[in-house]
């Protein structure tokens, strides 16, 4: 309970309520489900999952977990993309969604790292050996060092420095969180010199991180693309496809998160249709580019392709994975059409943009699954029988637990730290 001397902070900071506690409780239950499932996997081994060795075991050693590694890392693309749009192109009206984009990035990267650990039979051994023996020429090393360390540290640094001004403002008011805000502000006083310094830091961080980010996500594509012995992964579009899909799913998630925050925190006056229309237009371009990539992939996969490649493409178009493939493509096409119609009419409304964001987010998961699994079950160059992979309840539970953990982290973070700049709100008053 807040005492009378405490000031009510903006954006419901530090406040609870029945709805909030129910939400946290629900998410904790889902996290617990994931922990229980992972405990079972830890105790009994990967045999409780649907993952099996290639070839004679007729399975896929990379399944749902790896699909979600790719997905989470892809979603993380959005933080610096929005920061770059603001910092380099002066799109200041996107500022209200910049912090949630950065927080989404940090949480997604953490979930990506946890998904890698979930996929490893011996996670601790994996971490130790990575630091001891990783080879720089391996795409896995590049993904780990640039995505999970470089990009994570850069995002945390950006989030921290970006929040200092708000922390300093909030530290002025008496509240239970005052000590926390003072610690975060670390003496920030918003002098012109400090503002100037922060602008410079932001500019150079964006310039340093954007190329690293593109390389990092491309490297993730190379994890698949540079493997020999599997059809379907070797296309030249693998790396650029990963980058564009990262943008698609990142923007999709951001739209959904921004809409949720707007509804839950009553931010209709701050997160307006203007921001959503911008995100929608960026998403439109990215979805169009990705649909083009899919068409090119399918055409080259069925027209004079080597029979191994053609086999994977057939599995996607009319075989075991056809339902997921067409569902994924359908969601992308519907999103594209919704966004295109709005763009052509120059009249925007919220629900088609939010629906498109939700659809491309789901399509992103489906496409990652289709990238990871079919090449293992249907694309082996050695004369193995067709493989099979079906995730078990353990894998589904771990993934649901991870998603709930991410949502919980965002909910709790934005309960103690402002979801957008406080200063602007004060200036408006």
């Amino acid at each position: 309970m807040a005492t009378k001397s405490e000031t009510r902070l903006p954006y419901d900071l530090g406040r609870g309520g029945a709805g909030f506690f129910l939400l946290v409780l629900g998410l904790l239950v889902l996290v617990a489900l994931g922990v229980v499932a992972y405990a079972r996997q830890w105790a009994e081994g990967d045999v409780v999952t649907g993952l099996r060795d290639l070839g004679t075991m007729g399975g896929a050693p990379w399944g749902l977990y790896v699909a979600f590694v790719v997905h989470f890392v892809g979603v993380s693309f959005v933080g610096y993309t929005v920061a770059a749009l603001i910092g380099l192109f002066n799109l200041d009206h996107l500022r209200p969604i910049a912090r949630m984009a950065l927080a989404l990035t940090v949480v997604s990267l953490a979930l990506g790292a946890l998904s890698v650990l979930a996929d490893l039979g011996q996670p601790l051994r994996g971490i130790v050996n990575l630091f001891l023996y990783a080879r720089p020429q391996s795409p896995l090393f590049g993904t780990f060092s640039t995505v999970l360390v470089g990009y994570m540290v850069a995002s945390l640094v950006f989030l921290y420095l970006d929040g200092r001004r708000d922390a300093a403002l909030l530290a002025r008011a008496p509240s239970r969180l005052r000590g926390f805000y003072r610690l975060w502000a670390a003496g920030y006083r918003d002098t012109p010199e400090e503002q100037d310094r922060h602008r410079r830091t932001t500019f150079w961080l964006i310039l340093a991180v954007i190329p690293i980010l593109v390389v990092a996500i491309s490297t993730e594509g190379f994890v698949f693309g540079l493997q020999s012995g599997a059809a379907g992964w070797g296309g030249a579009l693998q790396a650029p496809g990963f980058v564009v899909m990262a943008g698609v799913s990142g923007m999709g998630h951001l739209i959904v998160v921004a809409f949720t925050a707007r509804k839950l925190l009553g931010l209709q006056d701050r997160i307006t249709l203007r921001q959503f229309s911008w995100l929608g237009n960026v998403l439109l371009v990215l979805v169009a580019a990705y649909l083009y990539f899919i068409v090119v992939e399918v055409l080259t996969g069925i027209y004079q392709a080597h029979h191994h490649e053609a086999r994977v493409t057939r599995a996607l178009l009319v075989g075991d994975y056809a339902w997921l493939f067409w569902l994924t493509v359908g969601m992308l096409v519907v999103s594209f059409l919704l966004l295109l119609i709005q763009f052509l009419r120059r009249r925007y409304s919220l629900w088609p943009i939010v629906l498109s964001g939700a659809l491309v987010s789901l399509a992103g998961i489906g496409k990652r699954y289709l990238i990871v699994v079919p090449s293992q079950t249907h694309g082996r160059l050695l004369p193995y029988l067709t493989g099979f992979y079906s995730p078990t309840w353990v894998e589904y539970s771990v993934v649901v637990g991870l998603l709930a953990l991410g949502a919980l982290a965002l909910v709790l973070f934005f309960r103690v730290f402002p979801i957008m700049e406080v200063a602007t709100r004060e200036q408006r008053r």
């Binding site: 990575l130 630091f131 001891l132 023996y133 990783a134 080879r135 720089p136 020429q137 090393f141 780990f144 060092s145 640039t146 360390v149 470089g150 540290v153 850069a154 640094v157 921290y160 420095l161 200092r164 001004r165 922390a167 300093a168 403002l169 530290a171 002025r172 805000y181 003072r182 502000a185 670390a186 003496g187 920030y188 006083r189 918003d190 010199e193 400090e194 310094r197 922060h198 830091t201 150079w204 961080l205 340093a208 200063a423």
Partner: protein
């Protein structure tokens, strides 16, 4: 002092990243254990620490005051 500390952190990170990269397993075909093992134990870890330090130098750049008179003891100052 601020610039010096910032440059020190940045350069240390850069050097560690380069060292880590070149002391890890040599680039080339994996023809044997001497090729696939790192030249120095924990070299990939050194690389990772270097990368992290490079980005952390931004914090040094913003947090460390310019000179003696520039106090940063609390968030009480009026923005």
């Amino acid at each position: 002092m601020r610039r010096a500390l910032f440059l020190l952190t940045l350069l240390t990170g850069l050097i560690l990243a380069f060292l880590g990269f070149f002391l890890a397993a040599p680039v080339g075909p994996t023809s044997g254990p001497q090729i696939s093992s790192p030249r120095v134990q924990f070299a990939p870890g050194i690389f990772v620490i270097g990368v992290a330090l490079m980005f952390a130098s931004a914090v040094v750049y913003e947090l460390v005051p310019n000179g003696r008179g520039d106090s940063r003891s609390s968030g009480k100052g009026r923005p």
